[in-house]
Amino acid sequence: MSSPVIAVIVLFISLGYFFVGIRVTSGLAPNGMRYQSRPHYSGLFAALLAFLPSSFLLIVLSIGDDLVFQQLALNFVPETVSTTEDYKEIIVLAQIENVVNGINFGEQPEWVYQAAEAWQGWLSTSSILKTGSVIGLCLVGGFYGFLKLGPDFRSRNAVERIILLILASSSAIAILTTIGIVFSVVFESLRFFALVPVKEFLFGLTWNPQFEGAERAGSGQMGIATYGSVPLFVGTLLISVVALSVAVPVGLFSAIYLSEYASSRVRSIIKPLLEMLAGVPTVVYGFFAALTVAPFIRSMGMTVGLDVASESALAAGLVMGIMIIPFVSSLSDDVINAVPQALRDAAYGLGSTKSEAIRKVVLPAALPGVVASVLLAVSRAVGETMIVVMAAGLAANLSFNPLDAVTTVTSQIVTILVGDQEFESAKTLSAFALALTLIVITLGLNFGSLQIVKKYREQYE
């Protein structure tokens, strides 16, 4: 039986227990006493005991069986094949699985058919095992719960404990995700640093990743892989600086104007319009940058006699800046509104003009919050991927000139990891090292900004 069918059966059995549980505990118990909890809690208790363990088992088995089969299937690969140069487990497994699923791409070697046949056998065995164990566990679990039901049994408390457990374990997902991120990035990074010294990665001035094969085949400068990440970080920094020099003044002044000057009618129109900028997907910005803004900047440069790269940092940074405007403005809006009215009153009471009150009282008081929001915007800019992938290019130039083409950390990660990769090569692993530094930087910025905000809040509490 396939997993969805089993799931439906489990669901029905659990429903059955639910109604039986209600039925049995309605009315008086055999000894003439009343049941402690309302009947539907008794039903729910039995149903949960039937449903939860068995569905968990079903998920584990459904994900796990393929993995087991794959390992078993690899035993069928003859040594003559597995020792060849370009042998790849993934490709072999795909061949076998295709045959299993009845998809034929031409004639396959004999051992592939053997493995596929064995696979079919395992499939039917595991299907029986899976069906039996899951449905069995469902029946047993429900029955155990059913037996516990009695006049003295507080089924509501038991049900509540179970639900609480579910709630608590779902909040653990956040921790699991973090652990997953850390593990997936740190382990591969360590492997990378075993191949390339940390010092070279952090301080090297040339970024030229190559696959081992290409490295061996190539000759001369192009063939030698170097992993100095400085050009990437300089490129990221350059684009971020361009982006922030657009987003911070525009965002901050928009926020000031909207919160201090604009009438509520104007505000109610302009604010959603600005927020629309935040809702536009980054791939759209990337398209806009590559197709409209970059050529425009290039032709503008031509008319004044400047040589602008067709994938200039300026174009990518400018568009990224547009994307971040609503981010800066809504965060600044929050911090400006958090400045107590009493301070504004004090300023106005002394005869300040509006701009004097804002510049000399509100903004200085809101400064920590504004700084925090700028830090968050920086972390946004550093982590932004699609715009730079589409508009900033891949040339790892070490340049501080916004008219040059540069590349960034995120666009290198994407370029290296998209498509097939050998997990053993330094090139692939370098992407994980880049990701690690990216995470460290963004979390550092986030942490710093949270600390500032915390201090700032305390000031007014």
Binding site: I181, P281, I322, S355, E356, S379, T385, M390, N446
Partner: protein, 434 residues
């Protein structure tokens, strides 16, 4: 106090000095105000340019040039096996049927003339003819007028992107072809119509028959997985943290974790998906299931944070009232707090889903960027999503792809605007004010 003391300015003096400063201060006030207006103007100008640039390119992308041909559907020719099976139609000579109709219409003669004429029509025409016969076998043996897409170079020529002034050898359309096109135009066989390929076609390297159907379905499948995982988990986490979690170290760690996850760049979630699901668990690439899981993990912090805010907004008096009549803590939450907080939670979830719908980078990491022609039938079939499709199309050089990409962007934006509108509607209509 009649003597003015040191440091005390008499009111009359003060008034005159204040008045003297007024002109300068009014000017600076105006300046400051103007800065604000300029800032808003710049932001709105950017928004306007973005939309105008997308729409001016995108609206023509919803249309393309078609040619209407009288095709003679010869039974033997199109269906050699005579069983109307897909294989038989595939073996048949649909191309020949279309070509001969085309030669008739253009009057193309000779090898080179016919070769030039053959290039006018899209390669997708044959598939269209086969599909028409599969849908309606009664067409067999008849002569019918059918509309076929023109090749993208012809399309570009008709849109005026290819100038006749360019020397023939540098042009993608030669003089013979121009002659044929003009003849077809005189016969009024060429029409500029709504592009059905855009909506119902799937990925293709030929721009005139490329469409977003596969990517759209992929997006929906991915989003469904994302919603099914992220909404219950997000709400459960929010309820736990807000209502039940003891104030201890573990809770604090979870909260810090959630805030940090919200700040992690999206591409990192893609790396997580690549390293854990694909490299470690050996799951296949490019499937909406993994895409959905990755996006769910990515949107989870958004949903948790907004759900917690919604729960916090429910006044304590309502909890006290329920607890006061003897409800358990869980009953209070389930019966009273959760229903009242639900609009806020839904709003947060929809905004999170809109984020997920537009997300590209993490899906590139898990291989949803592969070129997949088949339309995914389930969450474990390889597929792609709308933003990734846009990303791929944006890389293609053909003029027509620019239009199709922009058209796909419009479709994506329409969905996002719709989702946000729903969120705003829920927020304004269902949210209770206390």
């Amino acid at each position: 106090m009649s003597e003015p003391r040191k440091g005390i300015i008499l009111p009359q003096v003060a008034v005159s000095r204040v008045n003297a400063s007024l002109a300068r201060r009014r000017a600076s006030e105006r300046r400051f105000r103007t800065y604000g207006r300029i800032a808003i103007g710049i932001a709105l100008a950017f928004l306007f340019t973005l939309f105008v640039s997308i729409f001016t390119k995108g609206i023509p992308g919803f249309f393309q040039y078609y040619v209407t041909l009288e095709v003679v559907i010869d039974r033997e020719k199109i269906d050699p096996a005579g069983d109307l099976s897909v294989q038989s139609l595939y073996d048949g000579d649909a191309r020949g049927i279309i070509r001969s109709a085309l030669y008739d219409a253009t009057g193309a003669k000779g090898r080179s003339g016919r070769k030039a004429a053959g290039k006018l029509i899209s390669l997708g025409a044959e598939q269209r003819l086969r599909q028409a016969i599969l849908d309606n076998p009664s067409l067999l043996g008849k002569k019918v007028a059918m509309k076929f897409a023109l090749d993208d170079d012809v399309d570009s020529f008709l849109r005026g992107y290819i100038s006749r002034a360019v020397p023939e050898k540098d042009r993608r359309i030669d003089d013979t072809q121009i002659e044929f096109i003009e003849k077809l135009q005189r016969l009024q066989l060429i029409s500029y119509d709504f592009s059905d390929y855009l909506i119902f076609g799937s990925a293709s390297r030929d721009p005139e028959i490329a469409g977003i159907k596969g990517a759209f379905i992929g997006s929906m499948l991915t989003l469904a997985i994302c919603l099914l995982l992220a909404f219950p988990m997000g709400v459960a986490t929010a309820v736990y943290l807000e209502e039940f979690a003891p104030k201890n170290r573990i809770t604090e760690i979870i909260e810090i974790n959630i805030n940090n996850l919200a700040a992690v760049p999206s591409v990192v979630f893609g790396i997580l998906g690549l390293a854990v699901f694909i490299a470690m668990f050996g799951m296949p690439r490019s499937i909406p299931l993994i895409g959905g899981v990755v996006l769910a993990l990515m949107t989870l912090p958004t949903i948790i944070i907004s759900s917690r805010a919604a729960i916090r907004a429910v006044p304590p008096s309502i909890r006290d009232a329920a607890l006061g009549v003897g409800a358990s803590k869980l009953q209070t939450v389930m019966h009273h707090v959760l229903p009242l907080a639900m609009p806020g939670m839904l709003t947060g979830t929809i905004i999170g889903m809109a984020q997920a719908l537009g997300e590209t980078a993490p899906l590139l990491m898990i291989g949803m960027v592969a070129f997949i022609v088949d339309i995914p039938g389930s969450v474990t079939d390889p597929g792609t999503v709308l933003p990734v499709q846009i990303f791929m199309w944006a890389d293609f050089a053909e003029r027509m792809f620019i239009h199709k990409t922009s058209a796909a962007i419009i479709v994506l934006l329409v969905f996002l605007i719709f989702m946000n509108a729903v969120a705003i509607f829920i927020r304004s209509r269902l949210e209770r004010r206390w």
